[in-house]
Every structure is written in structure tokens, then in C-alpha cells.
Symmetry: C2
Subunit: 234 residues, 2 copies
């Protein structure tokens, strides 16, 4: 189907499955999932799906990092979410039966399991445990979106940059030196914060000067968590 299809990852052995609603599937369902799904490798920069299209399935991230974003006027991105191993993406449009409201592009080489519409919806409609998981997932994301609306409307850029760094810390691990295990371009950080690239750079420089964070290329390390939290206004 896809050119970069790779050898099957057995769902039963998949550690990521336990982080998702798929852990509620019984043996038969799991077998069916295993049969119907396909595992696909995506290189950095590749698109998984694009805004405005009708999706034909959902993706479970087995490995890698994916950015989910909307495209605004003159092509400027607004990143809604960074998805990582164990996250389910593209479920919103499938479940609400709408066109996709966002695009997904790979930030770090990824392995994704594609689960076709039909079987995903079958589970959703026949397995109450599974559907409750989906409900919780979408309601959680709704809560996060609502929070971000407030921030965008009321916080200034310094506060939002601080908050995004804290968000990254929550989402990603850190290496032995304390730098967070994610490499985003300055433009991408700006597209999470919802501001111009230059403004984000200035805020990052300020935070570095103030010894709140340290920067090494694209890597960020939090030095003074307390102060960063205070700045973010959480």
C-alpha cells in the first residue's frame, strides 16, 4: 500500500499498545488489529496526512516524534501538539466524521502503525472499554486546547515561551546532561508559542542570560525550574 511499509510489529508484544486504548482489546480483537494494521516508516519531514482531507484511518506512533499543526494565512503554521511514541493521531476527524482539521509531519524519523477506519470504528462501537478510552482521550485534548486558548488570549510572549518549555519538559525525556531530548527549529518553537520566530529567539536569549535555561544548538536545558514556572504564570 505505502512504499515505506515495514515488517509487522506484533501488537501483542508492542509496549506502546499499553499506553493506548488498544490495551482494552481482547485476544480476538487484538488478532484482528494485528492483521488489519500496517506498520510504516516515515523519514523526518514527511507528511503523514494533510489538513482538509478525509482520513481513512488512524495512526498509532510506535517510535519517533510528529508535529500536528494547522496552516494559517500565508502558510504560517500553528503547532497544536507534538505527538510521540504511544500517542494516537488522526482520530479526531475519523470519530467526528469531518475532514482533517490539521496536518501531521514527522519531526524525528518515525514508525507508525496505520489502523484503517473500518476496524477502528468497529472497536469504538462494540468495545465499551475502548470507546471510553477514546472519550477520555478527546476530552483530555479538549481540556488542553481550552487551556491554550486562554493562554493565547491573555498571556504575553515571555510567559508563553516559558510555558512551552515546561510543556516540552513534561513531554520529553532529558539526556544525561539534562538537555531535553527533542530538537525543534526556532521557527517550530515559535509556531507552538504562536508568535514570530524573532520574538521567540529574543525570549530564549533573555531566559538564557537570566540563567533560567541553557541553550546548546537546538537543545534546551532547564536550569531554574522554579523561576521558569514563575515566569510562565502557571
Amino acid at each position: 500500500m505505502k512504499s515505506n511499509e515495514i515488517e509487522n510489529i506484533f501488537c501483542e508484544d508492542c509496549m506502546m499498545r499499553l499506553k493506548t486504548g488498544f490495551k482494552t482489546l481482547n485476544k480476538d480483537e487484538l488478532e484482528l488489529l494485528d492483521y488489519e494494521k500496517s506498520c510504516i516508516f516515515f523519514k523526518k519531514g514527511e507528511f503523514i496526512y494533510r489538513e482538509g482531507f478525509r482520513g481513512n484511518g488512524v495512526y498509532c506512533i510506535n517510535k519517533g516524534i510528529v508535529k500536528i499543526f494547522k496552516t494559517g494565512i500565508d502558510g504560517k503554521e500553528q503547532i497544536l501538539k507534538l505527538a510521540k511514541a504511544g500517542d494516537l493521531i488522526a482520530f479526531r476527524s475519523i470519530l467526528s466524521n469531518e475532514l482533517s482539521c490539521s496536518s501531521a509531519q514527522v519531526i524525528e524519523d518515525s514508525v507508525l502503525c496505520f489502523i484503517p477506519n473500518k476496524i477502528f470504528l468497529k472497536f469504538a462501537m462494540t468495545n465499551p472499554q475502548f470507546s471510553m478510552h477514546l472519550i477520555r482521550l478527546s476530552c483530555k485534548e479538549l481540556g488542553e486546547s481550552n487551556k491554550y486558548i486562554l493562554d493565547l488570549a491573555q498571556k504575553n510572549i515571555r510567559e508563553r515561551v516559558a510555558e512551552v518549555i515546561l510543556l516540552l519538559k513534561e513531554t520529553f525525556d532529558e539526556d544525561k546532561d539534562g538537555y531535553m531530548d527533542i530538537s525543534l527549529s526556532r521557527e517550530e518553537i515559535a509556531n507552538i508559542v504562536g508568535t514570530a520566530t524573532e520574538s521567540t529567539i529574543r525570549q530564549l536569549s533573555d531566559l538564557k542570560k537570566e540563567k533560567v535555561i541553557d541553550l546548546k544548538g537546538k537543545k534546551i536545558k532547564i536550569i531554574d525550574l522554579k523561576k521558569l514556572t514563575r515566569i510562565s504564570g502557571i
Copy 2:
């Protein structure tokens, strides 16, 4: 239970039910719902629930208008949604088992049906049709929230004011003179747009001068829908 409880509205006869997931309930379930729910009258200005608390049920709006909002720094509101007859509110925190992420306050005298946690979750877990409705509802709202994030991040205030007027038009009917059937204070409009009250007033005045809308007290009438749409950048 509540001081302003009013006489029961029979679910079976309730027209609003047909707009909600409750239309999927069978006769027995409906009877149970009817028995467990309570109908409550709320006067303008009263709070239905507040941010940060654990909800003990959801509300189905039978009549009236309710604003759902988050409170930010120094008390400034950000309105997330105006809910009207046929809308279900407070379901997010119940379903995700989190604290309420927003408050609900009555804008126009309302009648609400309170459905306790227990029975609502029972339906969600045992009636697949009902749970699919909930999934669709939360995914739809998630899509709207995501859209609003993009707007807040990238559109200017003129565009956003125009967009909010269009949103009001979609949500509420108009009277015989073409004025929309909702009265919001300038501050409330500003709290939807996510800006200062004065800025909103200026934009409204401009749009009136340009003959795009007309203003009569708190009532708004759209004169030039095409131009308004163009301004909103949709």
C-alpha cells in the same frame, strides 16, 4: 436538592432531547433518566458550576443561554462557548475524570436538566450509540477549539471581531428586524474575541461606520454578510 428546582420536564416529550445524544436511549433508559434527573431554573448571572471543582453531573440546556468561560490573570474571562437550548454542558470534566476546566454562568434566564454523574456514565458505558454521540460531540468541540487557537495566534482583532459576529449568527436566530437574538455586553464580546473591551468597541464602531453591521444597544444586525465574511478571513 437545589432551591430553584422546578417541576419535571418529561424527557419523552422534550424536544431538546432530540438534539442530543439522549435520543439514542431506549424506553427503559429514558424512564430512568427521567427519574434521576432534576430540572432547575437559573436566573441571569447565576453560576451553574465553577472552574476547578469536581462536577457531580452534566446539564442539558432546555431553555436559555449559558456562557462557558475560563478565568485568567486578574480575573479576566475568556469565553469558550455560548451554549443554548439542546446543548450539553459540563460533560468534559465528567468524562475525562478531571476537575472542571471552566465555569458556566447564565446569560439569559435558563432551565437546565441536571443529570447525575452516575447515570450519565452508566449510559456512556453501556449504550454504544450514546457513547458514539459523546465521542462525536467532544471531537467536534476539539476541532472548534483547535480552529480558535489558530485564529488567536494569527488573526488580528478586526478579523476576529468579524468572525465572532459570524459565529453569533450561526448560533442564534434573528428577530423580525434582522437583529440577532442575543444580548451580550461589550465586555463579553471582547471576552469571546480575546481582547480588551475598548478594542472591541472600536472595531464594532468601525464596522458600523462601514455599513457592514448595525448596532442597536446590545443588539447586532448583519447588513453586509459578504463583506463581513471577507473581513473575517474565512
